[in-house]
């Protein structure tokens, strides 16, 4: 049967099992919205800004193992989506973004709402397509989903001119697709696995360092099994949190710029490093020369060969899917019946525990002013450590990463690579839709929340009972912290005057707002908010204005050149 391009696009999404499309209509996508109107399998979530649509699809994807889908119109619809796309790209999140384009015969004429979407998004997508022929639409969408979720995942954009969405073609959705130039590796090379196993068995001061790849690959079980078999200390990047249980004795906490003392020193001083689905980025290992001063053997497992040996030299590169590689590695070690040097390992653990005994995340609580760390600790306690927690970007993000001990993957949803303020609330919408009935908290600041505050309206329309935990210190806290440390206390434009009354603002959108100003009110307020299962509650915590995130490895410094809290 012949269908229009718009109908084909929707049928393709149905075939892919898409539940939700996050989007915003406009001229170039009117036919597609018409096709959406005439079906009831896919639910459309009308956001208030296209950036919100992409972040929501992103939150949906991060909290599930599915591909998130966003639909935007041409021109400003597409450009508004770009920050969301770049956010997903940096964190390797599988998305398919469908954008409308002006009709084919207008392309290149500077038509109304025309922009070169494929050109603008090219550097921040895994791949993109401009569909010129309606007969190729179905296979293109099939390719888009295949590319988005396989290999190293990422966002894929499909740009559909308006006339293509109105032309007719026979609908055949291919059951599988082969792209001749694209065959990502699954299993690691056996020789390299053997070398890796040998190195791990010879290690005297080993560390396992894990990243977002563990979460994306669904490799938590394999990682936990391997780590337990070896009894090695383990640290995780911001993106990897939850990939290994934070409550496990072997977990040293997050590493990097705001990582724990024990994680960073173990990383710096190890003799064998097993890096898994992580990419040694600047926020993680700091100064690459300083990191290189200590000789160590590095085994690097990643599905993307270009992540390997990009910033540091690697001794054993293993290209493959993390879950497969870790499973194979464990089986190999298990059947070898060999063990690492237990005396050396005990000595190493003694050293690591000594670093750990510094208790670098300790802070002095106050009866006078709300400490942000305390809010996160209480949030963890009251949600049983089991909530989905999204965050924006800044101090609150780091405190959440440090103090909310994630025991499961896909519970910690934040913008790591791009560091996008405004991510938290729309991402939480996607998470809540994917997990109706689950507890979803959005930890944010008064700066970040205002970057996509309009989505409170979407939350009302779709009855999303998100709990917004705003750590409101009246400063762009992380900017203020850097200005205090590195710019002579000159707080250039980091103080926000004329903040809205967030309680009234929440109420104006039809939600519940709470202002919390005393430490003794923190716990009761959180309890009350989380008891309101059906309501979105905006908790406006007035927190200590001058609190800083510690430990801190300043930009460009080495992992052991750390600034600790003065109280320690």
């Amino acid at each position: 049967m012949e269908l229009t391009g718009a109908e084909i696009a929707i049928r393709c999404l149905q075939e892919e099992g898409v539940e939700y499309v996050f989007g915003y209509p406009g001229g170039a996508v009117l036919f597609i919205y018409d096709a959406l109107f005439n079906q009831d399998k896919i639910k459309h979530i009308l956001v208030r800004h296209e950036q919100g649509a992409v972040h929501a699809a992103d939150g949906y994807a991060r909290s599930t193992e599915k591909v998130g889908v966003a639909l935007v119109t041409s021109g400003p619809g597409a450009t508004n989506a770009v920050t969301g796309i770049a956010t997903a790209y940096m964190d390797s999140i599988p998305l398919v973004i469908i954008s409308g384009q002006v009709a084919s015969h207008y392309i290149g004429e500077d038509a109304f709402q025309e922009v070169d979407t494929v050109g603008i998004t090219r550097p921040c997508v895994k791949h993109n397509f401009l569909v010129k022929d309606v007969n190729e639409l179905a296979s293109t969408i099939k390719k888009a989903f295949h590319l988005a979720k396989s290999g190293r995942p990422g966002p894929v954009l499909v740009d559909i001119p308006k006339d293509v969405s109105n032309q007719k073609a026979e609908f055949n959705y291919p059951s599988s697709i082969d792209i001749r130039s694209y065959h990502p590796a699954q299993h690691g090379e056996i020789e390299q696995l053997k070398q890796a196993a040998q190195l791990l068995l010879q290690a005297k001061r080993p560390v396992i360092y894990t990243g977002g790849g563990v979460v994306l690959s669904g490799a938590s079980q394999q990682l936990t099994d391997l780590a337990h078999l070896l009894d090695f200390p383990l640290t995780s990047t911001l993106m990897g949190l939850g990939g290994f249980p934070a409550s496990d004795r072997q977990f040293l906490g997050m590493l990097g710029m705001h990582g724990t003392y024990e994680a960073n020193l173990a990383m710096q001083n190890c003799d064998v490093l097993l890096a898994v689905g992580a990419r040694f980025d600047d926020r993680v290992i700091g100064n690459v020369e300083h990191f290189g001063q200590v000789p160590r053997k590095i085994i690097h497992v990643d599905i993307d060969p270009s992540s390997i040996a990009k910033r540091v030299k690697v001794d054993v590169p293993i290209v493959g899917d993390v879950a497969h590689v870790l499973g194979d590695l464990r089986a190999m070690l298990h059947s070898s019946k060999q063990q690492p040097d237990q005396a050396a390992l005990a000595e190493w653990w003694k050293q690591v525990d000594e670093w750990r005994s510094l208790n670098c995340l300790g802070y002095r609580n106050s009866d006078e002013v709300i400490k942000p760390q305390y809010v996160i600790e209480k949030l963890h306690e009251i949600t049983g450590g089991d909530a989905f927690v999204t965050s924006d970007v800044g101090q609150h993000q780091m405190w959440t990463a440090q103090y909310y001990k994630f025991n499961q993957p896909r519970r910690w949803i934040n913008s790591g690579g791009l560091g996008t303020m405004g991510f938290g609330l729309p991402a939480a919408m996607g998470v809540q839709l994917a997990h109706p009935g689950a507890t979803v908290a959005c930890v944010t600041g008064e700066g970040s929340i205002q970057m996509n505050i309009q989505e409170l309206s979407t939350c009302k329309q779709f009855r999303l009972p998100i709990k917004i935990v705003a750590l409101n210190n009246r400063y762009l806290g992380m900017v203020r912290q850097w200005q205090e440390f590195f710019h002579g206390n000159r707080y250039s434009e980091s103080y926000m005057d004329a903040l809205p009354d967030f309680v009234k603002l929440a109420e104006a959108y039809g939600h519940v707002g709470m202002r919390i100003e005393k430490p003794s009110d923190v716990e009761p307020a959180l309890k009350e908010a989380f008891a309101r299962k059906d309501d979105l509650v905006f908790l406006d915590f007035k927190t200590d204005q001058t609190e800083n995130v510690f430990p801190m490895v300043p930009g460009g410094k080495g992992l052991s050149e750390v600034i600790l809290a003065e109280d320690l």
Binding site: R122, R180, S181, S306
Partner: protein, 163 residues
């Protein structure tokens, strides 16, 4: 070090800009870049001449391989290879210089492909350095215009870049 990287890619609109965009976005050098369809009309072959440390060249190869439309990549410098570039050079050729120019073209195995009253257009192929040598051998003032294709490379013997 200078490297010649050859790649096969889907002959699709936008594929070229993905490659050139990759080089500019990641700050890699491009000395020259040539591209044309192959005997299989669905594929183009591109030759990129670039330079960088071993680490950078390794990243360039990996990043190119990562592009979805790139079918195969070969770093010519990893084995024996041949390199050729075509140059057209238009020189002023009047009176006694006409004979001199013709002799110079012969020495470099160039061909005069167009003649006017006061100019020759000479076609020359060879490695980049041979073309450079030719330009150095003739008087700057006589060179009216030059155009070069950039290098293309091919592996020797059984070293083949084909799907």
């Amino acid at each position: 070090m200078r490297h010649i990287i050859s790649l096969l890619m889907e002959n699709e609109a936008g594929a070229l800009s993905r490659v050139s965009g990759l080089f500019s976005a990641r700050g890699y050098n491009i000395e020259s870049l040539t591209v044309a369809p192959t005997e299989d009309p669905t594929m183009s072959r591109m030759t990129i001449v670039t330079s960088g440390s071993d680490d950078v060249i390794e990243q360039i190869n990996k990043q190119l391989n990562k592009l979805v439309e790139v079918v195969a990549v070969m770093d010519m410098n990893e084995g024996d290879h041949l390199e050729r570039e075509l140059m057209l050079v238009k020189v002023r050729a009047v009176s006694e210089m006409r004979e001199e120019m013709k002799r110079m073209a012969d020495i470099f195995r160039g061909r005069i492909i167009d003649v006017t009253d006061d100019a020759y257009t000479i076609e020359l192929t060879g490695t980049g350095s041979k073309l450079d040598s030719f330009l150095q051998a003739i008087d700057d003032d006589l060179i009216m215009e030059t155009v070069r294709t950039g290098a293309c490379g091919i592996g020797r013997g059984d070293r083949v870049l084909k799907l």
